[in-house]
Amino acid sequence: MLAVQIDKLSFSYSDKPILSGISVKIKQGEFVGLVGKTGCGKSTLLLTLNGIIPQMVNGNFSGTVLTLGKDATKTPVHELARSVAFVFQDPEDQIFSLRVEDEVLFGLSNIGIAGDEAKRRALEALRTVGLGEHLDSDPHTLSYGQKQKLAFACALAVEPEIFVLDEPVSNLDHFSSDEVYSILGKLNKSGKTIIIAEHDTEWLAEYASRILFLNNGKIEADGGPQILFDNKFEAAGVKVPCAVKISKEIGESLLTPSQLITRLKQKVKLKKR
């Protein structure tokens, strides 16, 4: 079964078309990075995956979206929430509990998981993101980055098939972003589908198996991370990984800093000889 199957999807909030005729298939176990300049409709596209659009947001919608074989335009959002977990950009939009643990338990109780099983999952998820010591803290006293990790833990605890993340690390420091992505990398290895919107492609170059480039309401490029070498990305306002820029200069096609360093070392050795 496909994780996501989108066919001829068009959407506009008012007159201005945001998505115009998008068709794309995402297999289970893919790690997809959705890139494009700010305001191009990344968040809008993500919101169709669990039925928020068109079920809860007004606008002109046409086309079909199947998420794990279910019609996302009709299946109730709270039912899709069992298999599709979202992490939004601003964790403060969702935090309301008085205890960190309760915040995670809320999402679990919504999908019918309670008792010891819920507690076990909450603890495990909070430990995974490094908030294991904060079960009893008031979430509102956490730092912004910690809140972002809490929102991520809420998604982890649901143990969904598909993770959808909308710029989940835009407010995290480098170290925490690395943590989040390496957790995503592990989840992906264990077979989970990851779909993530970013306008900074630094992490995607390393982790994503596929890049979708959204521009003018269409998927203008679709392929492995090496497509980031195409000049059109920078021209369209996408931040290209630093390693890509440098390796272009030296006539190589390397995506990550570590690949680049290895290659540079080889070059230096060659010269010395």
Partner: protein, 223 residues
């Protein structure tokens, strides 16, 4: 969205003071009279107000579901505790009464609101913050949508308002705090804001007041 719409209409060009008087007096009349005639009259007035402001009904109430929710309460209350007719009167009056302040916000610029409020001898800082909070209504409307989307994505579908109310409240408080800090940081003093808006009563405004006076008299002697 609940924010000023730039247009050319009678409603837009009337004096903001007259509009405030209209809204306040009319809401008073509407809420103090629960008869079928008043319900009809207020619906007609609301309709005319929309036409005069060239604002469509869907612009006044862009979220039909939310509106239905608001109207359902007084309807059910009237229906079960008094009579079915009373339920209808209740929601018709509420609908028209809600239309008026919304139209006011849709047709009046912020600086006109500040100027009018200051004319009614509100302290400058109060006038300013009132107008500013009107300005922020759409921001919170948007925030409310974001919160709703975030919670629904977590499987929330219940009737419990806490998961929606708490994040929204926190956001309001945070916004207020950061706004006041940033205003302070720029040495803002509401007492020194100039009044750039020229308040001028036109013939049409006097006429509007006359009509309102007629409505008040009608309320006293007929309803």
């Amino acid at each position: 969205m609940l924010t000023y719409l730039q247009r050319n209409s009678l409603g837009h060009s009337s004096d903001p003071r007259v509009k405030i008087i209209w809204v306040v007096v009319l809401m008073g009349i509407m809420f103090s009279t629960r008869t079928i005639e008043m319900a009809e009259l207020s619906l007609i007035i609301a309709l005319f107000a929309c036409v005069f402001s060239s604002v469509s009904f869907s612009e006044v109430f862009p979220k039909p579901r939310f509106l239905a929710f608001i109207l359902a309460m007084p309807f059910l209350f009237g229906y079960f505790f008094v009579s079915p007719q009373y339920g209808i009167i209740n929601s018709a009056i509420l609908l028209s009464a809600l239309t008026m302040p919304v139209l006011f916000i849709l047709t009046t610029e912020r600086k006109a609101i500040v100027a009018a409020l200051r004319f009614f001898k509100l302290p400058p800082s109060t006038a300013f913050s009132l107008a500013l909070s009107l300005h922020f209504l759409p921001v919170f409307e948007k925030k409310f949508d974001l919160v709703r989307v975030a919670q629904s994505s977590r499987g929330y579908s219940g009737k419990n308002p806490i998961p929606l109310a708490v994040p929204l409240m926190h956001s309001v408080l945070r916004k207020t705090k950061s706004l006041s800090t940033s205003l302070d940081a720029r040495a803002f003093d509401p007492d020194r804001i100039p009044m750039p808006y020229d308040l001028k009563m036109k013939t049409m405004d006097w006429f509007a007041l006359l009509v309102l006076g007629g409505l008040v008299l009608a309320r006293i002697y007929y309803f």
